[in-house]
Amino acid sequence: MTEALIAALFVFVLASFTGFEVINKVPPTLHTPLMSGSNAISGIAVLGAIVASGAKEWNLSVILGLIAIVLATINVVGGFLVTDRMLQMFKKKASS
Protein backbone atom coordinates (compact mmCIF):
# COMPACT_ATOMS: atom_id res chain seq x y z
CA MET A 1 0.00 0.00 0.00
CA THR A 2 1.23 3.48 -0.79
CA GLU A 3 1.85 6.14 1.82
CA ALA A 4 -0.97 8.26 0.41
CA LEU A 5 -3.44 5.41 0.81
CA ILE A 6 -2.41 4.83 4.45
CA ALA A 7 -2.88 8.53 5.20
CA ALA A 8 -6.27 8.47 3.46
CA LEU A 9 -7.34 5.42 5.51
CA PHE A 10 -6.40 7.24 8.75
CA VAL A 11 -8.49 10.22 7.67
CA PHE A 12 -11.42 7.94 6.78
CA VAL A 13 -11.44 6.03 10.08
CA LEU A 14 -11.01 9.12 12.28
CA ALA A 15 -13.75 11.00 10.40
CA SER A 16 -16.03 7.97 10.82
CA PHE A 17 -15.55 8.05 14.59
CA THR A 18 -16.33 11.77 14.55
CA GLY A 19 -19.51 11.00 12.59
CA PHE A 20 -20.56 8.39 15.16
CA GLU A 21 -19.98 10.78 18.06
CA VAL A 22 -21.56 13.89 16.60
CA ILE A 23 -25.07 12.39 16.53
CA ASN A 24 -26.72 11.68 19.86
CA LYS A 25 -30.10 12.22 21.50
CA VAL A 26 -31.76 13.72 18.45
CA PRO A 27 -35.47 14.47 19.09
CA PRO A 28 -37.78 12.61 16.63
CA THR A 29 -38.97 15.84 14.94
CA LEU A 30 -35.41 16.50 13.83
CA HIS A 31 -34.84 13.05 12.30
CA THR A 32 -35.94 14.03 8.79
CA PRO A 33 -34.18 17.44 8.72
CA LEU A 34 -30.97 15.89 10.03
CA MET A 35 -31.18 13.16 7.40
CA SER A 36 -31.82 15.79 4.77
CA GLY A 37 -28.96 18.02 5.94
CA SER A 38 -26.43 15.20 6.00
CA ASN A 39 -27.78 14.11 2.61
CA ALA A 40 -26.85 17.55 1.27
CA ILE A 41 -23.34 17.10 2.70
CA SER A 42 -23.02 13.77 0.86
CA GLY A 43 -23.39 15.83 -2.32
CA ILE A 44 -19.68 16.56 -1.64
CA ALA A 45 -19.27 14.04 -4.49
CA VAL A 46 -19.40 17.21 -6.61
CA LEU A 47 -15.70 17.73 -5.76
CA GLY A 48 -14.83 14.37 -7.29
CA ALA A 49 -16.95 15.26 -10.31
CA ILE A 50 -15.12 18.59 -10.74
CA VAL A 51 -11.73 16.85 -10.64
CA ALA A 52 -12.97 14.15 -13.05
CA SER A 53 -14.13 16.74 -15.60
CA GLY A 54 -11.17 19.07 -15.16
CA ALA A 55 -9.36 18.32 -18.43
CA LYS A 56 -9.95 20.86 -21.17
CA GLU A 57 -10.88 18.36 -23.87
CA TRP A 58 -13.91 16.42 -24.95
CA ASN A 59 -13.97 12.77 -24.08
CA LEU A 60 -16.31 10.37 -22.32
CA SER A 61 -14.61 10.91 -18.93
CA VAL A 62 -15.20 14.65 -19.05
CA ILE A 63 -18.80 14.21 -20.19
CA LEU A 64 -19.52 11.71 -17.39
CA GLY A 65 -17.84 14.09 -14.94
CA LEU A 66 -20.02 16.99 -16.11
CA ILE A 67 -23.19 14.88 -15.74
CA ALA A 68 -21.98 13.99 -12.23
CA ILE A 69 -21.49 17.71 -11.47
CA VAL A 70 -25.10 18.48 -12.41
CA LEU A 71 -26.49 15.54 -10.38
CA ALA A 72 -24.36 16.27 -7.31
CA THR A 73 -25.16 20.00 -7.42
CA ILE A 74 -28.89 19.21 -7.50
CA ASN A 75 -28.22 17.06 -4.41
CA VAL A 76 -26.30 19.85 -2.64
CA VAL A 77 -28.48 22.86 -3.46
CA GLY A 78 -31.79 20.97 -3.27
CA GLY A 79 -30.67 19.28 -0.06
CA PHE A 80 -29.73 22.43 1.86
CA LEU A 81 -32.79 24.37 0.66
CA VAL A 82 -35.20 21.52 1.47
CA THR A 83 -33.66 21.19 4.95
CA ASP A 84 -34.05 24.92 5.51
CA ARG A 85 -37.70 24.78 4.43
CA MET A 86 -38.38 21.95 6.87
CA LEU A 87 -36.69 23.75 9.76
CA GLN A 88 -38.44 27.01 8.91
CA MET A 89 -41.77 25.23 9.26
CA PHE A 90 -40.90 23.97 12.75
CA LYS A 91 -40.21 27.51 13.84
CA LYS A 92 -43.55 28.79 12.52
CA LYS A 93 -45.38 25.92 14.17
CA ALA A 94 -43.71 26.61 17.49
CA SER A 95 -44.51 30.34 17.48
CA SER A 96 -48.12 30.10 16.30
Partner: protein, 281 residues
Protein backbone atom coordinates in the same frame (compact mmCIF):
# COMPACT_ATOMS: atom_id res chain seq x y z
CA UNK B 1 -3.95 12.28 -9.18
CA UNK B 2 -1.68 11.50 -6.25
CA UNK B 3 0.34 14.73 -6.27
CA UNK B 4 -0.14 16.89 -3.22
CA UNK B 5 -2.69 19.67 -3.45
CA UNK B 6 -1.47 23.24 -2.76
CA UNK B 7 -1.53 24.40 0.86
CA UNK B 8 -4.29 26.97 0.32
CA UNK B 9 -6.70 24.34 -0.98
CA UNK B 10 -5.80 21.94 1.85
CA UNK B 11 -6.35 24.61 4.53
CA UNK B 12 -9.70 25.59 3.00
CA UNK B 13 -10.66 21.91 3.07
CA UNK B 14 -9.72 21.81 6.75
CA UNK B 15 -12.04 24.75 7.48
CA UNK B 16 -14.82 23.19 5.39
CA UNK B 17 -14.48 19.84 7.20
CA UNK B 18 -14.71 21.63 10.56
CA UNK B 19 -17.82 23.48 9.40
CA UNK B 20 -19.43 20.16 8.36
CA UNK B 21 -18.80 18.65 11.81
CA UNK B 22 -20.09 21.80 13.52
CA UNK B 23 -23.13 21.92 11.22
CA UNK B 24 -24.04 18.27 11.86
CA UNK B 25 -23.69 18.82 15.61
CA UNK B 26 -25.98 21.88 15.49
CA UNK B 27 -28.51 20.08 13.27
CA UNK B 28 -29.10 17.61 16.10
CA UNK B 29 -30.65 20.12 18.48
CA UNK B 30 -33.87 22.11 17.88
CA UNK B 31 -32.53 25.54 18.91
CA UNK B 32 -29.55 25.49 16.56
CA UNK B 33 -30.74 23.24 13.73
CA UNK B 34 -31.41 25.95 11.15
CA UNK B 35 -28.09 27.63 11.89
CA UNK B 36 -26.37 24.24 11.59
CA UNK B 37 -27.76 23.79 8.09
CA UNK B 38 -26.38 27.18 7.04
CA UNK B 39 -22.98 26.39 8.59
CA UNK B 40 -22.80 23.13 6.60
CA UNK B 41 -23.85 24.95 3.41
CA UNK B 42 -21.03 27.49 3.88
CA UNK B 43 -18.61 24.58 4.33
CA UNK B 44 -19.81 23.13 1.03
CA UNK B 45 -19.41 26.46 -0.77
CA UNK B 46 -15.82 26.79 0.50
CA UNK B 47 -14.99 23.21 -0.51
CA UNK B 48 -16.33 23.72 -4.05
CA UNK B 49 -14.56 27.09 -4.45
CA UNK B 50 -11.24 25.58 -3.29
CA UNK B 51 -11.55 22.65 -5.69
CA UNK B 52 -12.05 25.03 -8.63
CA UNK B 53 -8.56 26.41 -7.85
CA UNK B 54 -6.96 22.99 -8.38
CA UNK B 55 -4.35 23.20 -11.15
CA UNK B 56 -5.85 20.13 -12.85
CA UNK B 57 -9.16 21.93 -13.24
CA UNK B 58 -9.00 23.79 -16.57
CA UNK B 59 -12.43 23.22 -17.97
CA UNK B 60 -13.98 26.20 -16.15
CA UNK B 61 -16.76 27.18 -18.54
CA UNK B 62 -18.30 23.74 -18.67
CA UNK B 63 -17.87 23.10 -14.95
CA UNK B 64 -19.48 26.42 -14.02
CA UNK B 65 -22.28 25.69 -16.48
CA UNK B 66 -22.80 22.29 -14.81
CA UNK B 67 -22.83 23.89 -11.36
CA UNK B 68 -25.33 26.52 -12.56
CA UNK B 69 -27.68 23.99 -14.14
CA UNK B 70 -27.56 21.80 -11.04
CA UNK B 71 -28.18 24.77 -8.73
CA UNK B 72 -31.21 25.97 -10.70
CA UNK B 73 -32.74 22.48 -10.94
CA UNK B 74 -32.04 21.84 -7.24
CA UNK B 75 -33.58 25.15 -6.19
CA UNK B 76 -36.69 24.63 -8.33
CA UNK B 77 -37.16 21.12 -6.92
CA UNK B 78 -36.68 22.36 -3.35
CA UNK B 79 -39.26 25.15 -3.65
CA UNK B 80 -41.86 23.22 -5.64
CA UNK B 81 -41.99 20.15 -3.42
CA UNK B 82 -44.95 19.80 -1.05
CA UNK B 83 -44.10 19.62 2.66
CA UNK B 84 -45.80 16.22 2.85
CA UNK B 85 -43.58 14.88 0.06
CA UNK B 86 -40.32 15.68 1.87
CA UNK B 87 -39.19 12.08 2.62
CA UNK B 88 -39.32 11.04 -1.03
CA UNK B 89 -37.68 14.32 -2.06
CA UNK B 90 -34.74 13.52 0.21
CA UNK B 91 -34.69 10.02 -1.29
CA UNK B 92 -34.57 11.41 -4.82
CA UNK B 93 -31.79 13.90 -4.03
CA UNK B 94 -29.87 11.17 -2.23
CA UNK B 95 -30.10 8.93 -5.29
CA UNK B 96 -28.62 11.69 -7.49
CA UNK B 97 -25.68 12.05 -5.08
CA UNK B 98 -25.06 8.30 -5.23
CA UNK B 99 -25.22 8.37 -9.03
CA UNK B 100 -22.68 11.22 -9.09
CA UNK B 101 -20.24 9.24 -6.92
CA UNK B 102 -20.57 6.16 -9.14
CA UNK B 103 -20.09 8.30 -12.27
CA UNK B 104 -16.81 9.63 -10.85
CA UNK B 105 -15.50 6.05 -10.69
CA UNK B 106 -16.73 5.26 -14.22
CA UNK B 107 -15.16 8.47 -15.57
CA UNK B 108 -11.85 7.71 -13.84
CA UNK B 109 -11.88 4.12 -15.14
CA UNK B 110 -12.49 5.36 -18.68
CA UNK B 111 -9.70 7.95 -18.37
CA UNK B 112 -7.20 5.33 -17.18
CA UNK B 113 -8.34 2.95 -19.92
CA UNK B 114 -8.03 5.56 -22.69
CA UNK B 115 -4.61 6.74 -21.59
CA UNK B 116 -3.48 3.13 -21.25
CA UNK B 117 -2.27 3.91 -17.73
CA UNK B 118 -1.56 1.18 -15.22
CA UNK B 119 -4.40 0.76 -12.73
CA UNK B 120 -3.07 0.11 -9.23
CA UNK B 121 -4.82 -2.35 -6.93
CA UNK B 122 -5.68 0.51 -4.53
CA UNK B 123 -7.34 2.58 -7.23
CA UNK B 124 -9.07 -0.48 -8.63
CA UNK B 125 -10.61 -1.56 -5.31
CA UNK B 126 -11.70 2.04 -4.63
CA UNK B 127 -13.42 2.23 -8.03
CA UNK B 128 -15.14 -1.13 -7.57
CA UNK B 129 -16.46 -0.12 -4.12
CA UNK B 130 -17.50 3.28 -5.42
CA UNK B 131 -19.47 1.72 -8.29
CA UNK B 132 -21.15 -0.79 -5.95
CA UNK B 133 -22.13 1.62 -3.16
CA UNK B 134 -22.96 4.50 -5.51
CA UNK B 135 -24.97 2.24 -7.82
CA UNK B 136 -26.95 0.67 -4.96
CA UNK B 137 -27.60 4.14 -3.51
CA UNK B 138 -28.83 5.41 -6.88
CA UNK B 139 -31.31 2.66 -7.86
CA UNK B 140 -32.26 1.90 -4.23
CA UNK B 141 -33.16 5.56 -3.63
CA UNK B 142 -35.12 5.67 -6.90
CA UNK B 143 -37.21 2.65 -5.82
CA UNK B 144 -37.74 4.23 -2.37
CA UNK B 145 -38.83 7.46 -4.10
CA UNK B 146 -41.20 5.56 -6.43
CA UNK B 147 -42.77 3.70 -3.50
CA UNK B 148 -43.38 6.84 -1.44
CA UNK B 149 -44.55 8.89 -4.41
CA UNK B 150 -47.06 6.16 -5.32
CA UNK B 151 -45.45 5.53 -8.72
CA UNK B 152 -45.16 1.90 -7.63
CA UNK B 153 -47.03 -0.01 -4.95
CA UNK B 154 -45.71 0.48 -1.43
CA UNK B 155 -46.31 -3.20 -0.64
CA UNK B 156 -43.24 -5.41 -0.21
CA UNK B 157 -42.41 -7.20 -3.45
CA UNK B 158 -41.25 -10.77 -2.99
CA UNK B 159 -41.02 -13.59 -5.50
CA UNK B 160 -39.76 -17.13 -5.56
CA UNK B 161 -36.02 -17.56 -5.86
CA UNK B 162 -35.51 -13.94 -4.75
CA UNK B 163 -32.89 -14.89 -2.17
CA UNK B 164 -30.93 -17.21 -4.51
CA UNK B 165 -30.99 -14.49 -7.18
CA UNK B 166 -29.62 -11.95 -4.68
CA UNK B 167 -26.86 -14.34 -3.66
CA UNK B 168 -26.09 -14.98 -7.34
CA UNK B 169 -25.88 -11.21 -8.03
CA UNK B 170 -23.57 -10.63 -5.05
CA UNK B 171 -21.50 -13.62 -6.11
CA UNK B 172 -21.11 -12.32 -9.65
CA UNK B 173 -20.05 -8.92 -8.26
CA UNK B 174 -17.35 -10.60 -6.16
CA UNK B 175 -16.15 -12.82 -9.05
CA UNK B 176 -16.17 -9.89 -11.50
CA UNK B 177 -14.25 -7.72 -9.01
CA UNK B 178 -11.65 -10.44 -8.46
CA UNK B 179 -11.26 -10.75 -12.23
CA UNK B 180 -10.80 -6.98 -12.63
CA UNK B 181 -8.22 -6.83 -9.85
CA UNK B 182 -6.15 -9.42 -11.74
CA UNK B 183 -6.76 -7.90 -15.20
CA UNK B 184 -7.90 -4.27 -14.70
CA UNK B 185 -8.22 -3.12 -18.33
CA UNK B 186 -11.42 -4.96 -19.18
CA UNK B 187 -14.29 -2.68 -20.15
CA UNK B 188 -17.05 -5.35 -20.62
CA UNK B 189 -16.45 -6.80 -17.14
CA UNK B 190 -16.38 -3.29 -15.63
CA UNK B 191 -19.70 -2.46 -17.30
CA UNK B 192 -21.13 -5.78 -16.06
CA UNK B 193 -20.07 -4.77 -12.52
CA UNK B 194 -21.85 -1.43 -12.95
CA UNK B 195 -25.03 -3.21 -14.13
CA UNK B 196 -24.96 -5.77 -11.29
CA UNK B 197 -24.56 -2.91 -8.77
CA UNK B 198 -27.57 -1.08 -10.19
CA UNK B 199 -29.72 -4.24 -10.11
CA UNK B 200 -28.62 -4.96 -6.52
CA UNK B 201 -29.98 -1.56 -5.43
CA UNK B 202 -33.41 -2.41 -6.84
CA UNK B 203 -33.38 -5.90 -5.29
CA UNK B 204 -32.37 -4.42 -1.93
CA UNK B 205 -35.34 -2.04 -1.63
CA UNK B 206 -38.29 -3.78 -3.39
CA UNK B 207 -38.93 -6.31 -0.57
CA UNK B 208 -39.28 -3.48 1.99
CA UNK B 209 -42.71 -1.96 2.68
CA UNK B 210 -43.56 1.70 1.99
CA UNK B 211 -44.01 2.48 5.70
CA UNK B 212 -40.38 1.63 6.38
CA UNK B 213 -39.06 3.78 3.51
CA UNK B 214 -37.89 6.69 5.73
CA UNK B 215 -35.56 4.30 7.56
CA UNK B 216 -34.37 2.89 4.22
CA UNK B 217 -33.73 6.39 2.87
CA UNK B 218 -31.74 7.19 6.00
CA UNK B 219 -29.66 4.03 5.46
CA UNK B 220 -29.18 4.86 1.77
CA UNK B 221 -28.13 8.36 2.86
CA UNK B 222 -25.42 6.72 4.93
CA UNK B 223 -24.46 4.67 1.84
CA UNK B 224 -24.24 7.79 -0.32
CA UNK B 225 -21.76 9.17 2.22
CA UNK B 226 -19.68 6.01 1.93
CA UNK B 227 -19.92 6.24 -1.87
CA UNK B 228 -18.57 9.80 -1.71
CA UNK B 229 -15.75 8.60 0.55
CA UNK B 230 -14.96 5.84 -1.97
CA UNK B 231 -14.92 8.47 -4.72
CA UNK B 232 -12.45 10.33 -2.48
CA UNK B 233 -10.16 7.30 -2.52
CA UNK B 234 -10.52 7.11 -6.33
CA UNK B 235 -9.35 10.70 -6.94
CA UNK B 236 -7.34 10.84 -3.66
CA UNK B 237 -9.11 13.84 -2.17
CA UNK B 238 -9.22 14.17 1.63
CA UNK B 239 -12.23 16.47 1.67
CA UNK B 240 -14.38 13.84 -0.06
CA UNK B 241 -13.12 11.17 2.33
CA UNK B 242 -13.84 13.26 5.45
CA UNK B 243 -17.31 14.46 4.43
CA UNK B 244 -18.22 11.02 3.10
CA UNK B 245 -17.09 9.25 6.28
CA UNK B 246 -18.96 11.81 8.43
CA UNK B 247 -22.23 11.24 6.56
CA UNK B 248 -21.64 7.49 6.39
CA UNK B 249 -21.13 7.15 10.15
CA UNK B 250 -23.69 9.70 11.34
CA UNK B 251 -26.21 8.23 8.87
CA UNK B 252 -25.85 4.76 10.44
CA UNK B 253 -26.41 6.20 13.93
CA UNK B 254 -29.42 8.21 12.73
CA UNK B 255 -30.87 5.11 11.04
CA UNK B 256 -30.57 3.21 14.31
CA UNK B 257 -32.22 6.05 16.26
CA UNK B 258 -35.09 6.12 13.73
CA UNK B 259 -35.59 2.35 14.04
CA UNK B 260 -35.67 2.64 17.84
CA UNK B 261 -38.25 5.43 17.62
CA UNK B 262 -40.47 3.04 15.60
CA UNK B 263 -39.78 0.17 18.02
CA UNK B 264 -38.20 -1.85 15.23
CA UNK B 265 -34.80 -3.32 14.68
CA UNK B 266 -32.89 -2.52 11.51
CA UNK B 267 -32.75 -6.24 10.65
CA UNK B 268 -36.55 -6.58 10.83
CA UNK B 269 -36.99 -3.49 8.64
CA UNK B 270 -34.57 -4.74 5.99
CA UNK B 271 -35.45 -8.43 5.97
CA UNK B 272 -38.97 -8.47 7.46
CA UNK B 273 -40.49 -9.50 4.13
CA UNK B 274 -38.46 -12.70 4.20
CA UNK B 275 -40.10 -13.87 7.42
CA UNK B 276 -37.25 -13.42 9.84
CA UNK B 277 -39.51 -12.25 12.63
CA UNK B 278 -40.32 -8.57 12.11
CA UNK B 279 -43.15 -9.15 9.63
CA UNK B 280 -45.77 -9.27 12.41
CA UNK B 281 -45.21 -5.73 13.66
Amino acid sequence: MTDFLPTGIQLTYLVAASLFILGLKKLGSPATARQGNVVAAVGMLLAIAATLLDQHVLNFEMILLGLAIGSVLGAIAAYKVQMTDMPQMVGLLNGLGGAASALVAVAEFWRLLQHGEAISIDANISMLLDVLIGGVTFTGSMVAFAKLQGIMSGAPITFTLQQPINVLLLGSYVVGSAFLIVAPHNLPIFLAIVTVSLVLGVMFVIPIGGGDMPVVISLLNSFSGLAAAAAGFVVMNNMLIIAGALVGASGIILTEIMCKAMNRSLVSVLFGAFGTGGSAS
